[in-house]
Symmetry: C2
Subunit: 355 residues, 2 copies
């Protein structure tokens, strides 16, 4: 494999010295880019785009042509695992993801297979290999998965939810069944991420989008526990090269101390959490990734530059901060505003690093 | 006025000794009760119900007939103030509250009047008087308002929002204008709550439903600052009787220390926040109200009893805890499950109080 030409993202996650703060953006390959919308239209559907390695590779690389990002992230969906388990993922216009066969009974959980990524999720593994090859060492490639808890919410609700009534009902009434499902999901997520690592992912991120909807004790028992289990099953050393890991719970700012003990190299921060306070709370245990309010990108480039400066200054001196948004970019942001953010990170961050 | 027969809610907010933990429920007068749905159908619309003091009184008292709640809360909407400012509140089926004349320009903000509650919100003041009279001292009456920030979100967005793009745009691009609007709202909220207190409200609560969507620094500048201003303008001593105050930011668990300095008697807690940790963080500064996950009420009465026991045990010994949900009850909960919660608080809480 071609050696990495820009490794500041990897080094920062491992808290090794760098000369500026790396930057990438959640959903950086996405609808805010006209060139993405063009491929998406050609593909016919979002799922066609995800399941076609060539197209997934093409859209993964698109944002790198426009912006000086320090990492690429696999273009895929977080619900590939439940789909590979047989739940039948589909997208209904304006309503987001849905499952044809959501989890309804104990027997549905008993029957859930643990997918073999090389067979059942071959299209993702192939996309990772192809992207890695096409990146030619320009920047590292991030692989990812939804967290066991977050996958479970969609699988039981049958799609997106506001109240999480069904999945919480299962959790409160039949905690053993819930644990059985989460156990299968943790094994599936780990083997999926290991396959991505073997295929070329140089860092991996676990998205716990819905952990923040839980009480503190339920979060520990049903979300964080399984994020830990995933981490313990990951093979994060490839040919002597460390593969850093990132764990992100949206709405998890209350629980950073516990999250920092889960074994990941870094924690993702949502925009509500103050990054200076977060750094003081986690100490040297983990690096931090985040955390500009995605809505800031609707403001003027001048406002965006100020927001970037504030976040960099709050994190302060030294390695261990990957600049990002606190959640995914929204579909109608002006790409010029993304450029303002990226350029500001390049311009303002060197002062916080050793010369 | 009739003296209070049950004052444990008031005493608890003031951290005076009581013999058990008081309990009430956000949205306790609401759609989960068949007798509410009957009056609501008779009224023709939700707004008709809010603006008719007799009907508002009737639905306020309904839950007290079924459950041993220790407080009544005025039945009203949080958007009465913007409506009184001329924005034209209406409800569109399935989409929640909307405004005919949302805030769009600097001149819209300049022209915003500060309503005179005795004239412009007379129906609320009359409802408070009537409810207080009809309660006959059974339990105290809670008055309430939306927080300035939360009102501002609806006024600028024109209704509910997921991303808060418009109101955050105003905040980022024209912070002075935003402050001007929030200033007017703080004065309006304070005079509205003072009118409710004069009319008979024995405690008041400020609902900051959307403060949790802000970054830490924006929360302090645009939400908490104005909650403080409201508090400083409240007249909370009526005939030598202290009127306790409660401040609730949904999603505000990160900021409890700052909130505890805002001058309120108590803080509302959402269900994500661990109440034992919250108590340790705020110390003796404030009482706490909360914080069972509203979704727990879909579980079996036996699960509900366990959840109640856990929360009471987490808060621990002594006064200063008002039992409540961490957010409003959902419309399709079985009222028998509410009874299980209330009865469990009555049964399990005396052990944590002095004999």
């Amino acid at each position: 494999m071609t050696p990495l030409k820009n490794d500041i993202f990897i080094k920062t996650l491992l808290k090794q010295p760098v000369d500026r703060t790396p930057v990438w953006m959640m959903r950086q390959a996405g609808r805010y880019l006209p060139e993405y919308r063009e491929i998406r239209a050609k593909a016919g559907s979002f799922l066609n785009l995800c399941t076609n390695p060539e197209l997934a590779c093409e859209v993964t690389l698109q944002p790198l042509e426009r912006f000086d990002f320090d990492a690429a992230i696999l273009f895929s969906d977080i619900l590939t695992i439940p789909d590979a388990m047989g739940l039948g993922l589909y997208f209904s216009e304006g309503e987001g993801p849905k499952f044809k066969n959501p989890i309804k009974t104990a027997s549905d959980i008993d029957k859930l297979p643990i997918p073999d990524p090389d067979i059942d999720l071959r299209y993702v593994v192939d996309a990772v290999s192809l992207i890695r090859k096409n990146l030619q060492g320009r920047v590292p490639l991030i692989g990812f998965s939804g967290s066991p808890w977050t996958l479970a919410t969609y699988m039981v609700e049958g799609g997106s939810s506001k109240s999480f009534q069904k999945v919480k009902g299962l959790m409160y009434e039949q905690p053993k069944l819930m644990h059985k499902m989460l156990n299968k999901l943790a094994q599936s997520v780990a083997s999926y991420l290991n396959a991505q690592i073997e295929a070329g992912a140089q860092a991996v991120m676990v998205f716990d989008t819905w952990g923040g909807m839980l009480s503190t004790e339920d979060y520990n028992e049903f979300s964080l526990n399984y994020a830990k289990q995933v981490r313990s099953l990951l093979k994060t050393n490839i040919d002597g090269q460390e593969v850093p890991t990132i764990f992100f719970t949206k709405g998890g700012g209350l629980w950073l101390e516990d999250m920092a003990e889960a074994g990941y190299s870094a924690l993702g921060l949502d925009w509500q959490t103050d990054i200076a306070i977060a750094r003081a709370r986690v100490g040297d245990k983990v690096a931090l990734q985040g955390n500009m309010d995605p809505i800031s990108l609707y403001a003027s480039p001048e406002s965006i530059r100020k927001k970037v400066a504030t976040i960099l200054q709050k994190y302060g001196n030294g390695s261990g901060h990957v600049f990002n948004l606190g959640h995914g970019i929204l579909p109608d942001v002006n790409p010029e505003h993304v450029k303002a953010m990226v350029d500001a990170v390049h311009e303002f961050s060197p002062q916080y690093h050793l010369k």
